[in-house]
Symmetry: D2
Subunit: 314 residues, 4 copies
């Protein structure tokens, strides 16, 4: 059975028809406004209507960046879109002239599910996905099932506390993992290094057009690939924090595989080697079990579409 | 169907027949030696044989303090008993003249399962149990199923790292949660307070017979119940660490209930109130979901028997 | 001998004639622009010229917020004024028609010296002053002498690291004491509490005119004085960090007195009681020496003028 | 003028005549018992009497491992010798038939003073000595004067807190610097690594005769010199903690030189390179002042004698 997956972003939505092997057979996009939730409903319905005219689909899955109700019908809260206890599935359903089930999933869960079913984890039963972007999103699969939690808010891995009294987080707390293990953390660390150690940061500042406050994650990766010592250290620090936090996650879940998604994957072994080293260094029960694999995600931006579509079929 | 549950300790084993409602219908005990694994096998078999003479049982569950293989047949490693990759289920099975399945479960998992089925969490579907004793043991139930992990080592919650560079742990790492959230942590904190603040610790030292190094957890609880300021603070600190760590666990699992087991429960609200306050203070997504309940366990020492028996039936 | 003290801020300067008892006999002010260093020189010279017309003075001391050379002649670097290796004493000297020595002192050192000579510490020989404002400035007096350090940069107490991996600091590092023990820290903590715990922060947000991002230190103090629970906790947390850091400073210097300056003093015992408690709790060698006193500063904004004048006489 | 210096240990005392250039002209030793304070007095007097028979001396300095009163007459408390508010100078003076001043100094202060006057810091005016042994002892010189503190307890640098909630310390607190930056810390880290990572620790365990609990600091240094990866990391970690803490000390004191004493110096660059790197990485105001030098001590065990003798002359 084919299904539609919808990846809803703040300014655009991407909608695709996905077959049972995880292939996207057709895809359309629509522009949206984050504060116009009715407009988002209409854009989704419009795109779906366009696709169902050409494809037979049995379900529609909506990937939303927010807290999704455990019955997969509504979005309780979203940081970047004006949803508040919003019955998204029903709203979209009412605007579509086809009678198929519509379900909502958290976007990180959807992306993780895509990796679990059709990507880096397709042979696994117990997996944790870490999506390292602006923040740190997570998805947890245990025994082949997605863990949504009692109230749909499981796998908020970025908000595990890793440093008491540590960096402030947008959630209002201190020391959240995502403040150490995200693209934003990498950028902030780089910008601070440019203050504390201007000479060492010269290449990074140069790549940022002379403005230390403009240093980006890709600048760090590029400098590191050139061999810049500070940039290599910054990626190693990022990798260390990801790996150390993953070891704590492993103490809870004992997965066979961690999948690392998000833009930082571009750094390759400059990130992965220190990441794996830190994971091994901090893993408990080392030697009494195989170590989990740690691999890069295989899907890119389309993971949300693929995962949402596949979850909607279930 | 009735089943037998066996709780295997370092110096004695407790064996009971458990009905489908979690009641122990009969119970026997045997003394054992931690380094005599064959003797432990025989003691288990002997006790089981005695019980099956009087009770019809359909399964036998063995609760072992160690890393248990995911197929529930063997103990990979135990800190206090000389099991190393030991096929415990088969060994016991061969010594028993009844043809019923024998399975091995981690003891913390068994205790948690008893609470989940017949105790504080019997109405829950998503639960985390924290057994606060010498260390911090855990059990995780997601969607009604026990989470064992890919290699049987899930729910080692006591080894989540909560303080980088923190207290040394017996596992060889630093900053493990159980070094802050256990009866041992409480005792160590009390003994250190007696060094740094002898005057404030006078009552605790008195309760310990004048020897600061002998201050025990129950001494702290007793002094706190009398109103001793330092003892009240020590229990509040223990509660704070339990609650803050639980908030990190909630970021991963979003459970509806935490069950607190182990001897520290005797401190009651002196522990629970600061524990719940800290949990709420550190919980992410507060306000976007109900808060998990935090309750004391209802079973005591017999939880291992009950949980192992019930898990063996499945 | 009378002396002139000059307190140089980013937008205005305050200049006073100070007698040997620390009294300000006359005072004038001038507006300045932070990026016009020559203009600042002229404004200082102009104000001094005005005052020496009426008062006989023997020395001029300039209090500058920046790194001052150990020979007290120039400012190596200032965060808020465009001085870079700037020979401030000579520049001012050349513009004044009176032949008296002109010396430069760090502003926190000058303020601390005022307290040491004429304020809360006038009976002490070994003192540490902590000026808790936007940042955390310090001044150290050992055996009656101001400690300037080999290169004039001693007593940068706000940049002791108190939390590895802690809050980012404007200096480019992480975990600096001033990120936990300053008015800015208090405000940031209050604003984050408003995100994580909106209900508890209702009164603070109300005092800030409905805008959580506008909560100020005085708002917190006012709410705490009304009995608001969150505000009381925020001041206690600030006090705890000041006290714990002071205990580390005491391990280095063993002073008899800490003087707490800056606006947070308005909170009085709401700050001082938790501060002193934390200091005692973390002090090493407790019981083998008297505990240092911890008192509020007696001078307010004029401390820089008084201290700079008095240091210039020496 | 020559002076006698006495280094008082728990089981023996070393006594020497020291000239004004810091040379030891003659030396004798006596065995003592830590709980027999009168016996220690007599042993000191006896050794001094022997030496004054052959040498003209003008003062006697006693280096004691304990809290020394600011007037240099008594020992308030010592962890390893049974002194409690003990008037050591007077007791020794009464037993000696020569009328010269007798003063008591803290042993770490004496050792630091030896380096300041005649060793690695003889050209400096502002110095901090870190003696890295079982613990971390310190000595501070500001503007050519030893900083003793108001009550004689300054320079207890090992008890600065560097990790909130960190390793327990014998002083009763948590996270003291000496629990991270001492020979004991090195050994504990090595022993824990042998638990968490037995394969990586194979060479260290071998050097310790097969017993992980017997791994010593010299074992780590030797393995590191052979190129053992874990041992190199352990020394680097030790160096990192020393360097990071030294950066905090520099924020307080702005010294021109740190002198590193104690047995760990044997590791040479394996310790010093990561130490200096960490110091530079964490130093505030980097670029606005020269960086302090970090050098190994030049005196060995005789530093206490030399420093105590020289301080007694002042």
């Amino acid at each position: 059975m084919h299904a539609i997956g919808v990846d809803i972003g703040g300014t655009k939505i991407a909608v695709g028809v996905v077959d049972e092997a995880g292939n996207i057979l057709a895809q359309v996009r629509r522009d949206t406004a984050a504060d116009d939730v009715a407009g988002i409903d209409r854009a989704i319905a419009d795109a779906c209507t366009e696709l169902v005219a050409e494809h037979e689909v049995g379900a529609i899955g909506l990937a939303a960046a927010g807290f999704v109700s455990p019955d997969r019908t509504s979005v309780q809260f979203a940081p970047n879109i004006a949803w508040r206890d919003y019955p998204l599935a029903q709203k979209v359903s009412e605007l579509i002239d086809v009678d198929v089930p519509v379900v909502v999933e958290n976007d990180a869960n959807a992306a993780g599910w895509a990796e679990f079913r059709f990507g880096a984890a397709h042979e696994a039963t117990d997996m944790v996905m870490l999506t390292i972007g602006t923040g740190l999103g997570g998805a947890v699969v245990v025994g082949g099932s997605l863990v949504r939690g009692k109230w749909g808010v499981a796998a908020e891995l970025g908000h595990m506390r890793v440093v008491p009294g540590g960096h402030y987080c947008g959630c209002g707390h201190e020391g959240c993992w995502e403040q150490y293990a995200s693209g934003s953390a990498l950028e902030r660390d780089a910008r601070h290094a440019a203050i504390a150690h201007p000479r060492r940061a010269a290449r990074l500042v140069e790549l940022a057009g002379g403005d230390a406050e403009a240093i980006s994650g890709p600048d760090v990766t590029r400098a590191a690939q050139e061999g810049d010592e500070l940039a290599v250290e910054l990626l190693a620090t990022l990798g260390r924090w990801i790996g150390e936090g993953a070891a704590s996650v492993a103490a809870v879940l004992d997965p066979e595989l961690f999948v690392i998604g998000g833009g930082v994957g571009a750094a390759g072994d400059l990130l992965l080697l220190p990441l794996r080293k830190a994971y091994t260094a901090e893993l408990s029960a080392l030697g009494h079990r195989p170590e989990a694999q740690i691999e890069l995600a295989q899907h890119g931006n389309e993971a949300g579409i693929v995962g949402a579509a596949d979850l909607a079929r279930r």
